[in-house]
């Protein structure tokens, strides 16, 4: 069996050596040992209560705080009762120990040896008094001897009686579980008991009483909460000793209520069966039982606000005071609570009886304990909860692992999402920053210029700027790479130098100065390399930024072109919108900027496609103007007919 924490291990009296019977205590030793034993178990019990209470606090406060999830009502109720139960158990133990120790006062003051010794002394003194002829002394001694002799006889009789009865004399103090087995206390009993304890404890103002008051408050609250949560009882939470205790249900009126319901059900059946004789009989019974119920309820102190009259089938409309049969007996809210409470408390009693039966084997095991004190366990999360089972530990561990994995997945997703968002942000923000830094107008600022004007001017400028910037970065990178290569070369030379120095050193030459010089050079090179690395990273970052800005710019321009499309650009130029061009614009808007294809080239191609064809020359092989877009063919959505293309005009002419 698991030992509670706090129980000591090293206070055991050493076992008697084998083959040698342990020396028994004499009466004085025994009293002293009993006192020690009582003191020891009290200390152990206090330690156990302290440790267990601390663990309970951990479970009610620290663990919920750690997991950011409060205990639910049922859990809190179960834990809240722990401290009170612990204190009660300790009290019972203390009372029992105290009673066992108190027997000392009733026990004979001296043992047989002492009395024998006293008798021997008195006999000796009597002999001396006899020799001296001291009659008074002799009388006094004889009286004393008679008294001691009586004591001796009494003690002998007691010892004989004690030897005759078995050692297991004192049965353990009855536990609540055992009491529950015999007659399970109702919740009301429990509350009353707790309230009485609370009042008793309130009389004292020491720290122990304060602790107990808190524990009792918790237990009372827990009991009420349990009922409220699980059984829907309308009871006031007894936050303190003044807490109102729900009155115990009145069995007589409850029984009568049940009887009434039964009769009403029967009446309903008779009504359905159209049995007038049975109905009449039931009516009489109902009236009688209703009267009895009213009287009983009044006698029990219930306030019956209106007479309860079963609405019998007399062909009359229901009056205000009548109660429909199918609604059951009309009772006041107080009566309803009492009835409900009765059912609830019966369930509680049954449950408690079940618990008591469950606890019985534990009680048996407790009696079989080899010794009371045991080991102190380390206090951890599992220990605090009393989790000592490997399977349960593994289960908890498994759950933690699952959560960890789920968290990792979440982190990965967040990271991925962050990367996407970050990239998008960099694209937008980077482009904006880049525009600002490069002194160019942002795309939005220049959009108005773009739309409706001849395309390509600002686009080309912007993209050229991008290209130029990126070219600069590339050159910088190239320079860095060259410098890096130079440093590598230098490192190679230094390596050769080091080999030579090693050879010299092996020959026994003094190379300390050269070695120091070499080390300095190596350090310098390393520093330069590090500086170059940092520079390279900075340039790479700038390049990346420029690249993203370039991509964002290209994508946005393409999108705007697609939106503005042929309508914004082509009318000015007088060219008919080309299906191919519109399609191409849409494609370029939808497709992400391709890294492989320079944006400037892409734009140039787009521009070529968008720009109107050059005025027709005398070349007879000039192709026909492009067809209008398919969308324009619809009469509803067709834009106004564009003006005749210059080519057509020319051709017509």
């Amino acid at each position: 069996m698991e030992a509670p924490p706090g129980a000591s291990v090293d206070r055991e009296t050493p076992a008697p050596e084998s083959g040698e019977r342990a020396k028994t205590f004499d009466a004085g030793d025994a009293e002293r040992e009993l006192g020690e034993l009582g003191k020891q178990v009290s200390e152990d019990a206090k330690e156990v209560v302290d440790v267990t209470s601390a663990e309970t606090k951990g479970l009610t406060k620290d663990i919920p705080a750690r997991y950011e999830e409060p205990l639910d009502a049922a859990e809190a109720a179960k834990i809240a009762g722990n401290d009170a139960r612990l204190i009660a158990a300790r009290e019972r133990m203390e009372q029992e120990v105290g009673a066992a120790l108190a027997e000392k006062t009733e026990a004979p003051a001296s043992d047989m040896k002492t009395l024998d010794s006293q008798l021997r002394d008195i006999d000796q003194q009597l002999e001396e008094a006899h020799k001296k002829g001291d009659g008074n002394k002799r009388q006094e001694l004889e009286a004393r001897r008679a008294q001691v002799d009586d004591e001796r006889k009494k003690l002998k009789a007691e010892q004989a009686a004690a030897a005759a009865k078995p050692v297991e004399v004192a049965p353990p103090a009855p536990e609540p579980a055992a009491a529950a087995e015999a007659a399970p206390p109702t919740a009301a009993d429990k509350l009353r008991d707790l309230e009485a304890q609370y009042k008793e404890v309130s009389k004292s103002d020491d720290s122990y009483a304060a602790d107990k008051k808190v524990a009792l408050e918790r237990e009372m609250e827990a009991l009420t909460l349990e009922h409220q949560a699980g059984q829907k009882i309308e009871a006031e939470p007894p936050a303190a000793a003044e807490a109102a205790v729900e009155p115990e249900p009145q069995p007589a009126s409850v029984v009568l209520e049940g009887k009434l319901r039964d009769l009403e059900a029967q009446y309903k059946e008779a009504q359905a069966a159209n049995d007038p004789d049975k109905k009449a009989a039931l009516e009489r019974q109902l009236e009688a039982v209703t009267k009895e119920w009213q009287d009983t309820a009044k006698a029990e102190g219930h306030v019956v606000e209106r007479p309860r009259e079963p609405m019998l089938d007399r062909g009359e409309p229901a009056n205000d005071n009548a109660v429909a049969l199918d609604e059951g007996p009309e009772v006041t809210s107080r009566d309803a609570t009492a009835a409900e409470t009765a059912a609830v408390l019966a369930a509680v009693a049954e449950e408690e009886a079940g618990d008591a039966r469950k606890e019985a084997p534990a009680k048996k095991r407790a009696r079989e304990l080899p010794r009371a004190a045991d080991v102190i366990e380390p206090v951890g999360l599992e220990a605090a909860a009393g989790i000592d089972d490997e399977f349960e530990k593994a289960e908890v561990e498994k759950l933690r692992k699952e959560v960890k994995e789920a968290r990792e997945i979440e982190e990965a997703k967040k990271k991925a999402e962050g990367n996407v968002l970050d990239k998008a942000k960099r694209s937008a923000g980077g482009a904006y920053d880049f525009f600002k830094e490069s002194g160019l107008k942002t795309f939005m600022e220049g959009a108005a210029e773009m739309v409706g004007s001849k395309p390509g001017k600002l686009e080309s400028q912007t993209l050229e700027k991008f290209s130029a910037e990126r070219k600069k970065f590339k050159e910088k990178m190239k320079s860095i790479a060259e410098r890096k290569a130079g440093l590598e070369e230098k490192s190679g030379e230094l390596e050769k130098k080091r080999k030579k120095l090693k050879e010299k050193k092996e020959r026994g030459e003094d190379v300390s100065e050269e070695e120091a010089e070499l080390r300095r050079e190596e350090e310098e090179i390393e520093n330069e390399k590090a500086a170059l690395e940092a520079e390279a990273k900075a340039v790479e970052a700038e390049d990346r930024k420029a690249k993203l800005a370039e991509e964002a710019e290209a994508a946005t321009q393409a999108k705007l072109r697609a939106e503005a499309g042929a309508q914004a650009v082509l009318p000015e130029t007088g060219g008919a919108p080309s299906a191919a061009v519109a399609e191409k614009s849409a494609e370029s808007a939808a497709a992400p900027a391709k890294e492989e294809q320079p944006v400037a080239e892409q734009l140039a191609a787009d521009r070529e496609a968008i720009l109107p064809p050059e005025p027709v020359t005398e070349d007879p092989e000039k192709p026909e103007p492009p067809e209008p877009p398919a969308a324009a063919s619809s009469p509803e959505s067709a834009p106004p007919a564009p003006p005749a293309a210059p080519t057509e005009t020319k051709l017509a002419a």
Binding site: M1, E2, P4, E12, T13, A15, P16, A22, K23, T24, F25, A27, A30, E31, E33, L34, E36, L37, V41, V48, V49, T52, L59, I63, Y67, E69, L71, D72, R90, R92, E96, V97, A100, P108, D111, A163, V167, V169, A170, A173, E175, A362, K363, A366, R367, A372, A373, A385, G386, I387, D388, L399, E402, V403, A406, R407, I409, E410, K413, K414
Partner: protein
Amino acid sequence: MTDIKRFPPSHASRAKRIQDAFANFLNEVAAIRNERKQVLVGYLKRVEDKKIAEIKKKINEL
């Protein structure tokens, strides 16, 4: 713990009584700890289930 056999019969019953009282107390403590263990196991399971459900929900929302 003191060996009861070393007590004279007049004291042995009292020593036994003390030891039994302590044993009963420890038994009660063990029962409380066992109940608390069950509460914590249930609580942890509930918390873990809730957290896993929240995480799964978030993952699905991504």
